[in-house]
C-alpha cells in the first residue's frame, strides 16, 4: 500500500504547481486551469486523509469541492467569454484599465 505521506507530497507538489502557475501564466483560461489544479490537489489530500483516517467526512468534502468547482467553472468561463467579446483578448496583462 502506498503510504499516506506520498499522497500528501504529491498533492502538495500539485498545489504548488497550480499556485505558481497562477502567478506566472498570463492567459486567463490557463490561470483558471491552474486554480482547478489547486482544487484537485486539495481533493487528493481530502481523499488520502479520508482513507487513512477511515472517516467519510473527507469524501463528502471532496464531493462538495467538485460541485462547487463546476459551478465556479461555469461562472468563470462566462466571465472570461464576456471579456473576450468586449476586448478580444484574455491576456491578463492587457486587462488593466484600472490603476492607482
Amino acid at each position: 500500500m502506498v503510504p499516506l505521506n506520498h499522497y500528501l507530497y504529491l498533492s502538495a507538489i500539485l498545489f504548488t504547481i497550480g499556485a505558481v502557475g497562477v502567478f506566472t501564466r498570463r492567459n486567463a483560461l490557463i490561470i483558471y486551469m491552474c486554480i482547478e489544479l489547486m482544487l484537485n490537489a486539495v481533493n487528493l489530500t481530502f481523499i488520502a486523509f479520508s482513507k487513512f483516517l477511515n472517516n467519510m467526512d473527507g469524501h463528502i468534502f471532496a464531493f462538495m469541492i467538485m460541485t462547487v468547482a463546476a459551478a465556479e467553472a461555469a461562472v468563470g468561463l462566462a466571465i472570461i467569454l464576456a471579456i473576450f467579446r468586449n476586448r478580444e483578448t484574455v491576456n491578463v496583462d492587457d486587462i488593466n484599465l484600472m490603476k492607482g
Partner: protein, 117 residues
C-alpha cells in the same frame, strides 16, 4: 471467487476480439499510402475549411449547462445505492434537491438559452 469467472471470461473474450481484429487487419489488409490518406483532418476527404475555425458560442453555452447539470449526478449515485435504507426521508430530501435543479432547468429554458437559433 468462482462467481467472477464469467466476468473474467468476458474480459478475455473482449480483449481477444479487439486484439484479433487489429492483428487481422495488419496481416490481410492492403497497405497503400497516398496523399489524401495522410491528411490529418476530415479523414481522407479534402479539407474544405481551415481546421482552426471558431466554434459558435452556442456550443459553449451547452457545454456549460452540461457541466452544471452533470455534476449533480454525483449526489444521486450515493442516494441510489442506499435508496432502500434511506427510505422515505432520503426520497423527500432528494426530491427537494431535484426540484431545485428543475427550477434551474425551467429558468434556462424560459430564458431561451436552450434555443439553437
Amino acid at each position: 471467487m468462482s462467481e467472477y469467472i464469467p466476468v473474467l471470461i468476458m474480459l478475455l473474450l473482449g480483449a481477444g476480439t479487439a486484439v484479433g481484429i487489429l492483428v487481422a487487419t495488419t496481416l490481410i489488409g492492403p497497405k497503400k499510402s497516398f496523399a489524401d490518406k495522410m491528411e490529418p483532418f476530415e479523414c481522407g476527404e479534402h479539407p474544405i475549411v481551415s481546421p482552426k475555425l471558431r466554434f459558435s458560442v452556442k456550443f459553449y453555452l451547452v457545454a456549460i449547462f452540461f457541466v452544471i447539470f452533470d455534476i449533480e449526478a454525483v449526489f444521486l449515485y450515493p442516494w441510489a445505492v442506499l435508496f432502500k435504507r434511506l427510505g422515505i426521508f432520503g426520497f423527500i430530501e432528494m426530491m427537494i434537491f431535484l426540484v431545485i435543479l428543475a427550477v434551474g432547468l425551467i429558468y434556462v429554458w424560459k430564458r431561451g438559452a436552450l434555443e439553437w437559433e
